[in-house]
Amino acid sequence: MSAVSIKNVSKEFKGGTKALEDIDLEIEQREFVSLIGPSGCGKSTLLRIVGDLIEPTSGGVTVNGKPARQARHDHDYGIVFQDPVLYDWRTVARNIALPLELAGWDRNRRSQRVDEMLDLVELRGFGEHHPWQLSGGMQQRVSIARALSFDPALLLMDEPFGALDEMTRERLNAELLRIWQASESTIVFVTHSIAEAVFLSTRVVVMSSRPGRVSKLIPIDLSQPRSAATREDPRFFELATEVREALHMGGGYDMPLAATGLSEGAT
């Protein structure tokens, strides 16, 4: 059973923007799939359709063999946005516990799980802080802990590290891989950084824009587990180049090289 199965999905917004056209994509259990493409090509739209946050104009999505709506009601996925979207009147611990509260977990079980999550994202001791007392990177880790707290089979991440500096981003990349390996989950990850996509993924989905389509699927055969050394592996550069070329073939990718995250060390 595929973790996510996207069949013939098209999306046209009111006003006539064709965001997605005929998307077909199968994502297997335990995969780490990155969606990459120029800004405005419909990555977020596709992710939100998978999460049943919006509906496709045509076509269908199943998650773990169920219609997307059913999967949402069954809490089959956790989602992480570009902004942490923490509720600032709640402490860090109570933010992480929010989905557990809604799922009806009792207080003891909640607090036990919150402690585990704080350890997992290395924020032990920050449970009683309020979100605004944390740095951007720490806030995003809270948001990841919240998405993982109820142990969803699928994790949807929409440019979760896009707003962070390069150092923090690389550290959180490594942390995310560790978390993914320790769990049983499948991850669908949106990014516009080539380096990030190649480093993290088992497969990269390259999209092109106007309308958004899948232009190439690139399996990433770098060995697991990945580490700092992976980033210096010649194969890493080959794959990054392949992704970059696919992006340029798709057209509309006018992002300067510096923005791809490859500027350092790529020479």
């Binding site: 946005f81 600032d88 929010l98 809604l102 979100p131 944390l134 550290r171």
Partner: protein
């Protein structure tokens, strides 16, 4: 992993220092006001100012005379003025508190209803607004007569009049506040398949609290005004409204008594306001940019 140092005030005596600074500031303002009043009065009398009003001992009694009056008996059989006024303030305060509670609850309920449905909002909000254009002086006698006909105690009728003056800001703030949650925060709730009630209590309501408290600050003082005005048609003599009417009649002989009453009424308003501010401090835990 290196953790980022979290800034927080460390000095233990910081609150004490802050309180002392605030106290000094308050004192400075009071002294300034006193100086302004007495200075204006002295100049006005010396030069015989007629504008903006004729300045004399009746229009502007000395501030120390107002304070002094608090500790005198208005007539030989009466208790000290301050005793009478504090009793009156307690009476009016009770009316205002009940009115405030009713107005705040009612305003929130109406606001929540209107925020819930755009159609209701379009249909009903104009009437809520219109209700505020009818002067309280026109409404008050009707409320008193209606409620008296169903055996409601007069002071409760006054509370209803105070409620009429308090609910409106709460309605507007509730509508605004309940719709203030951003799109992402709502989407997060949707991802958990949360129902409308859960979204209301776990997201929209906490989001609305700073808006609500801004409105409650206005309502707290408005409830006192409502109670004072409402006492007149209810023929209640024991409250501040009664005291104001009474001393207004004798103004030309003893202007300081009316001014003393005003001071007590203002103090009651400030007390109400401060209670709301204190409640807000206890209840609202928001990022600094969301706190008024």
């Amino acid at each position: 992993m290196a953790s980022v140092a979290v800034e927080r005030p460390l000095a233990e005596d910081a609150p004490v220092k802050r309180a002392r600074r605030r106290g000094l500031l308050l004192l400075a303002v009071l002294v300034l006001l006193w100086g302004f009043w007495e200075g204006f009065r002295a100049l006005g009398i010396h030069y015989g100012w007629q504008r903006p009003f004729t300045v004399d001992a009746t229009s502007m009694p000395h501030i120390h005379d107002m304070i002094w009056a608090l500790f005198q008996r208005p007539n030989p059989e009466a208790p000290l003025l301050i005793v009478t006024l504090l009793k009156a303030a307690a009476f009016t305060g009770r009316e205002a508190a009940l009115g405030f509670a009713m107005g705040a609850t009612g305003g929130f309920a109406i606001g929540a209803l209107l925020a819930h449905s755009r159609m209701l909002q379009r249909g009903l909000l104009p009437y809520v607004v219109a209700s505020q254009t009818i002067p309280i002086l026109a409404i008050a006698p009707m409320v008193v007569i209606w409620l008296a006909s169903v055996q409601v105690t007069p002071w409760v009728s006054v509370a209803v009049i105070a409620a009429y003056l308090t609910f409106f800001p709460v309605v507007i703030a509730t509508i605004r506040g309940l719709q203030a949650a951003d799109h992402r925060a709502v989407e997060l709730m949707r991802s958990y398949a949360a129902n409308r009630w859960t979204v209301l209590w776990k997201l929209r309501f906490p989001m609305a609290l700073p808006f609500l408290f801004s409105a409650l600050r206005i309502s707290a003082t408005a409830s006192i005004v409502g109670a004072i005005i409402g006492e007149q048609p209810s023929s209640i003599a024991g409250g501040l409204g009664g005291a104001i009417l009474n001393f207004a009649q004798y103004y030309s002989f003893q202007p300081q008594n009316l001014w003393a009453t005003n001071i007590i009424a203002a103090a009651l308003g400030i007390a109400f306001f401060l209670v709301v501010v204190a409640a807000e401090k206890l209840v609202v835990r928001r990022a600094p940019e969301h706190v008024a």
